[in-house]
Symmetry: C2
Subunit: 408 residues, 2 copies
């Protein structure tokens, strides 16, 4: 059992579930019943029938995000199925509420067929303000997210991809503040070409980082290989421009940055030592990193980040998704686009002050309550600026709305 | 706008939705995060992967009921679609929580195809403790409920059918205490052969009432007609044993009981006057009854019930569904069967004391907080006795569990 496993079992059994659905208004009189239910409720129904948009005024839909999984890639546990994935999805709902004020409901689907998942989510939309896809295995997750983004006019976000990518970018932005180097030419090795690896590759490229090698279990992803899935083929256009082949160790030589989203203990101190001087190591495999943070330091890394809560620089998605959805919901964004993700990453980075940077701290603490508001504001402003917001506010008004809804 | 319409609009806009999803435990430390989410959460996941049943121990699933609609028959408003139906489904979720302690989540589906609705609900099951179908038009509702009852091993309950049927039966049981007559031979006319009418017919037959005529907009449902859907054909085996034809008015002559689940103002005082002496009139069309309660009294009815909250004897489903699901969930019933429905009806009836019966009161007030517990206990006991309960308790233990969960 892991570090917190025994205590988690105890707490989960004691709570009998981590979320609860409550009524915002108590019913004490027959009149309450007549207003919240029949006959009074017929009137908001009639209004929405005339103008569908009013469903965001008269119901909770404006603030509801479904956390949807098929249990095919739960944490590092693999394809354990929808029931076994439910504790994670409930945990996600807890984080949505605690850090974003978002009403989130976990849905674990009893199918792993991408077409069926797409259709089911589509059918659920009239009750939802947004969709957070979770723990769906690659490359199926790309197909599902792409299809839903095209079909739906509410935000769709696969957190394993974009949450991780955003927080990684935030950390990298800050690492570059401490140890500046040329963003376009610095050599980045991304180990892992699943959901997170592919999304990190895209966001870094988008941000201007143009010297990226991606590796999977077979080595460097290159056009010489004939075993690549569509997602890996697609990133060839933005990575490995000199068509290198070889192992992860080959790739690592003189690399400025290592980003691991693969598996435990695949690197040692001597591998890190082959990297460029003042290297950055993001070893984010969970719960056990690709290389132990102490070994990475000994190998010469000056910035080390992991997924571990007992070391500094925990790259945790909770820094991103609650605030991103808070911001997207509050301006009723039709989607979560690249501009919004980039703004969120910059907002997260900006929360780390100069004193912390001096100590090598590149991301805020995952329980820092200031993060949700800053990310929400940056995301909402980017949504307005990029034209996907249905509601447009001045900044002071926006801050008021976000603060109020964070408490909801 | 209806009586409560204006106030309902104001309250719905002010609340911005009637339900909210909360975390049962606050997150204040990194440790909380590690227990409720990663890495600790992996342990309950692993346990459930080994034994699926533990999902009822470690997650909220044991207490979650989805209120599922396609918006095809919302209140008396008709096919207004999924978005416009959402305020009703949220209202239902409020009542589930307030009167049954049940965590209920509204899902309005963007399809009205029965096969697609069946499949979607099936796929949602890993997250659900029960399914409450709502405001789905007849005869589609029968097909959908029947298929889901066969496929799923969690309770499936179409409230428009069974909730109404159970409360009607409860009222009739009490009416017979005040004005006894032979249950098997008394003449009952049920006006309306939709979801509620068909279900009422079945529950009354099951209870021993064997002289029933059902009417629809074309008159008495009889084997001479060639315009009957499957549901109407099916009830021919338990109604109209002398194969009568004619109008509602024809049916009503010398009837002991009128049960209306059709539409407003279709009967007058003079129609009621053609019924047997000391007739019972249940005019439950909402918000306007089939006959005004005062007119029914003037026509000679001794018991009058309606759906109106401003008259005595409001036949309101809220007397049934919260307690029924509370009881079914607490013994983890595989279904809600006839024995459980019957027990629920008798429990509701038993809550009306002799003094109230003397005044012609046949059902408790819809906001009577004692109802949920009594109905839950009766339902749970009937589930155990009929062999559909997965958890079996002694009565004293059962009462403790129910009381505790009613507060949840």
């Amino acid at each position: 059992m892991g570090d917190y496993g025994r205590e988690a079992i105890r707490v989960h059994a004691e709570l009998k579930g981590k979320i609860s659905i409550i009524s915002k208004r108590k019913i004490t009189t027959k009149e309450d019943l007549s207003i919240l239910y029949t006959p009074g409720v017929a009137e908001p129904c009639r209004e929405i029938a005339k103008n569908k948009d009013l469903v965001f005024t008269y119901t909770s839909r404006w603030n509801i995000v479904a956390v949807i999984s098929d249990g095919s890639a739960v944490l590092g546990l693999g394809n354990i199925g929808p029931e076994a994935g439910l504790p994670v999805m409930e945990g996600k709902a807890v984080l949505f509420k605690e850090f974003g004020g978002v009403d989130s409901f976990p849905i674990c689907l009893d199918t792993q067929d991408p077409e069926e998942i797409i259709r089911t989510v589509e059918l659920l939309v009239p009750s939802l303000g947004g969709v957070n896809l979770e723990d769906i295995s690659a490359p199926r997750c790309f197909q599902i997210e792409d299809a839903l983004k095209k079909k739906l006019s509410i935000p769709v976000f696969h957190d394993d991809q974009h949450g991780t990518a955003i927080v990684t970018l935030a950390g990298l932005i800050n690492a570059l503040k401490i140890y500046p180097r040329n963003m376009a030419s610095m050599k980045i090795v991304i180990c892992g070409a699943g959901a997170a690896g592919i999304a990190i590759t895209k966001i870094l490229d988008n941000y201007g980082m143009k010297n990226i090698l991606v590796t999977d279990s077979k080595g460097i992803v290159s056009s010489s290989r004939n075993d690549l899935n569509d997602a890996k083929k697609a990133i060839l256009s933005i990575t490995n421009k000199t068509n290198e082949s070889g192992t992860l160790q080959d790739a690592l030589k003189n690399a400025d940055v290592f980003i691991g989203v693969s598996g435990p203990n695949i690197l040692e101190e001597k591998d890190i030592a082959t990297m460029a001087k003042e290297a950055f190591v993001f070893a984010m495999s969970n719960p056990v990193p690709e290389v132990h943070p102490d070994a990475a330091k000994k190998g010469g890394a000056v910035i080390v980040a992991t997924g571990r809560s007992d070391y500094p620089n925990q790259i945790n998605n909770v820094l991103a998704f609650p605030g991103i959805f808070r911001g997207a919901l509050d301006v009723r964004a039709a989607s979560i686009n690249e501009e919004m993700k980039r703004a969120a990453a910059e907002a997260i980075a900006a929360l780390v002050g100069p004193d912390e940077l001096k100590k090598g701290i590149i991301v805020p603490s995952p329980i820092d309550r200031a993060v949700g508001e800053a990310v929400a504001l940056a995301t909402a402003k980017a949504a307005i600026k990029s034209g996907v917001a249905r509601l447009v506010f001045e900044e002071t008004e926006l801050i008021k709305i976000i603060r109020n809804n964070l408490k909801s």
